[in-house]
Amino acid sequence: MSESNVFTLTFILYIGSALLYLAYLYSKREKLAKAGSVVALSGFLLHTLALILRTTQSGHAPFTNMYESLSFLAWATVLAYLVIEWKFKVRKPGAYLLLIVVALMSLASSPLMPKDATPLVPALQSYWLWLHVSVTLLGEAFFAIAFVTSLMYLRAESRERKGQVPKSSLTAERLDSISYRSISVGFPLFTLGGLVFGMVWAYKAWGSYWSWDPKEVWSLITWFVFALYLHTRIVMGWKGRRSAAIAIIGFLAALFTYFGVNYLLAGLHSYA
């Protein structure tokens, strides 16, 4: 089976999973959510196969152009979500998370993204490519979880403030705590992959660990935003709405670092 067939099948499974989770949101039938998880997990396994096939066919890490890296980010997001779902026994964020995954997969399969596996330019031929990109994107996947649970928090909190009793065990407070826990996984990963591994590789390839290239600056900005989140929360005791707002801004900054910088600002990171 070719990589693009497996990719398409994965895409279909993710759409199916998103639909099941959405049906669960509206019908509140636990069975639908469980089916959503199973379909997401099988999609994830198939996606893993697609990434392995891509790696063996191209002979290099499966994130060297926009198509590959979008696909990898979708994979990492599903992984992060399945971990959070298993750890916290919550299935409601699944609908929104899987919609994000479907959006990433659609972008990856859009005709705008060249899908050919091109040979690696000299600058990317390094094992630091694996370490730098995979760890960073995994960190960003956890920021995506915090983004979704923070948005859900804002809605749940405004309902609870109006005096509505939360219908399930997924109260606003619990959403707030899941956001924090996701960030406490994502932040060290992002620091390690994005900043530390990035600096080491930059030093090995370009001879300087920091060049104030727009992508470097934006990953630093993202890091500052999450540092702000942690300090306001841990030291100043901020929780709830303000914390959620910072987590949302942080994810948007991460998204801009990942995506926007490539298309809007020129710099050294011209490959992806």
């Binding site: 040979p119 330019v121 031929q125 996984v185 060290p188 630093l220 900005i221 300090h231 030291v235 100043m236």
Partner: protein, 451 residues
């Protein structure tokens, strides 16, 4: 007033404000292209360009005010960290053992057991259970009461301090790089030796290879280098992209390549207007008269330009260093007398304006150009790098301690009454409270089984 300012700058609020300032300034620096020429800014922003340059917005990350924010930020980190450090050190290394059961009951997780054993026996049983769960124990035995402090992963409370230390070390590394770091670039032809700037050794390029993929795109550039010190070769290594060479603090990176258009080899075809079958091929070096086989003339390429253009004074010059419009000035001579001369163009073989002697019917064409390739190496000596890696290691260690090494602490008071013991326990954990709660419950139920 001064006190208020001082108090502000030493507070966490200041850290928040400084973080927001850093975010805003950093964003600004990605919106304005950095480090361009004044003309570029004038063309881009008009009058505003000059204002931007005055405000150092065009080299923002090296500007006085950005560095000032960073300095204030570092100062704030130092003060805030130190302010909390002494209390943390006391808590970690000289903890107080509280004898008051009431203060224990104020803790997050609490429990009480009436044990049937006497106090010393109860304490022993307790220690066994705690030891099984890797707790470290401090004991303070009074006359009627004794107090037990059990803790593990105490270093976790220093996580944020280690993170801050790491950040400060990284900033110090940045300063060291800025003050003592040296960078440069060397362009070397094969077999050329050049002294390395600011070093007492030289470097020689033995071989330069460009590898291609079957599709024609570049796979890799490799330079085989020899370090020469005191006239003797001391080290030989091949350098490629992502695989630099280090020698005595200097690092050499493959950063690019180029062609030496001053010394090309030109292939020129000579044709005859009257004889379509006539063809002579000659390889020329610029400035070297070369005889043509079977003819009594010599050919000379007087000049070569890779990207021919006529400049403002209508003089031939080159627009770039790429082979976009290669042209050569060719002269043909017969026993010292010019027969023809003029510019010939590889891309436009029919376009040539030759000054020709009437009897000549030879027509030169520029067919091929070969130029020696030179390798461009970046050189860097950056004593800050080691400092940076130490800072990064501290940063990651601190993050690990802060997030994944949560300190757990349980306090016990054992009060003896009629050969029995009243045990009060209270615990707290910085993180992972559910896991801690279940561990706490495990200890207590194990003790209940002994009753």
């Amino acid at each position: 007033m001064l006190k208020t300012i001082q108090r502000f700058f030493t507070s966490v609020k200041a850290a928040i404000v400084l973080l927001i300032l850093l975010i805003a300034a950093s964003i600004l620096g990605t919106l304005i292209p950095q480090g361009r020429s004044s003309q570029d800014y004038l063309a881009r922003y008009g009058q505003l360009g000059g204002v931007f340059e005055k405000l150092q917005l065009t080299r923002l990350y090296q500007s006085f005010w950005y560095i000032a924010i960073l300095a204030l930020f570092s100062l704030n980190i130092i003060i805030c960290t130190l302010a909390r450090l002494s209390a943390k050190l006391r808590r970690a290394f000289r903890p107080k053992c509280d004898i008051d059961p009431k203060s224990i009951q104020a803790l997050k997780v609490t429990d009480k057991i009436k044990m049937t054993q006497p106090r010393t026996r109860a304490a022993e049983l307790l220690k066994v259970e705690l030891g099984r769960r890797h707790y470290r124990i401090r004991e303070h035995a009074g006359e009627k009461k004794s107090c037990l402090l059990a803790r593990k992963k105490v270093l976790g409370i220093f996580g944020s301090d280690v993170v801050h230390l790491g950040l400060l070390i990284i900033l110090v590394g940045g300063i060291v790089s800025g003050l003592w770091g040296v960078r440069g670039s060397l362009a070397l032809l094969e077999n050329q030796t050049l002294p390395v700037p600011r070093a007492d050794f030289s470097i020689r390029l033995d071989k330069f290879i460009t590898e291609f993929y079957p599709s024609g795109s570049v796979k890799d550039w490799k330079s085989e280098l020899t370090i020469i010190e005191g006239g003797k070769p001391v080290l030989q290594k091949s350098v490629e992209v992502n695989h630099p060479l280090s020698y005595r603090g200097f690092v050499f990176y493959q950063s690019g390549y180029g062609s030496d258009w001053e010394n090309p080899e030109l292939q020129v075809w000579l044709k005859k207007k009257s004889d379509p079958a006539y063809l002579r091929t000659v390889w020329l070096r610029v400035g070297q008269p070369t005889p043509v086989e079977g003819e009594d003339i010599t050919l000379t390429a007087a000049r070569f330009l890779p990207d021919f253009v006529l400049d403002e004074k209508n003089e031939p010059s080159t627009r770039s260093l790429e082979l976009k419009n290669p042209a050569a000035f060719i002269r043909g001579e017969r026993s010292g007398v010019e027969v023809f001369s003029g510019w010939i163009f590889a891309k436009f073989p029919d376009f040539s304006q030759m000054h020709q002697a009437p009897e000549s019917e030879l027509k030169p064409e520029l067919k091929d150009i070969k130029a020696p390739q030179y390798s461009v190496l970046q050189t860097a000596k950056d004593p800050g790098v080691t400092v940076i890696w130490v800072g990064c290691a501290a940063l990651m260690l601190g993050l690990f301690l802060a997030f994944y090494w949560p300190t757990r602490e349980i306090r016990f008071v054992l009060e003896e009454s009629q050969n029995r013991t009243d045990l009060t326990a209270g615990g707290l954990s910085a993180k992972a409270r559910e896991a801690f709660q279940s561990e706490f419950n495990g200890i207590m139920s194990a003790l209940r089984k002994t009753i």
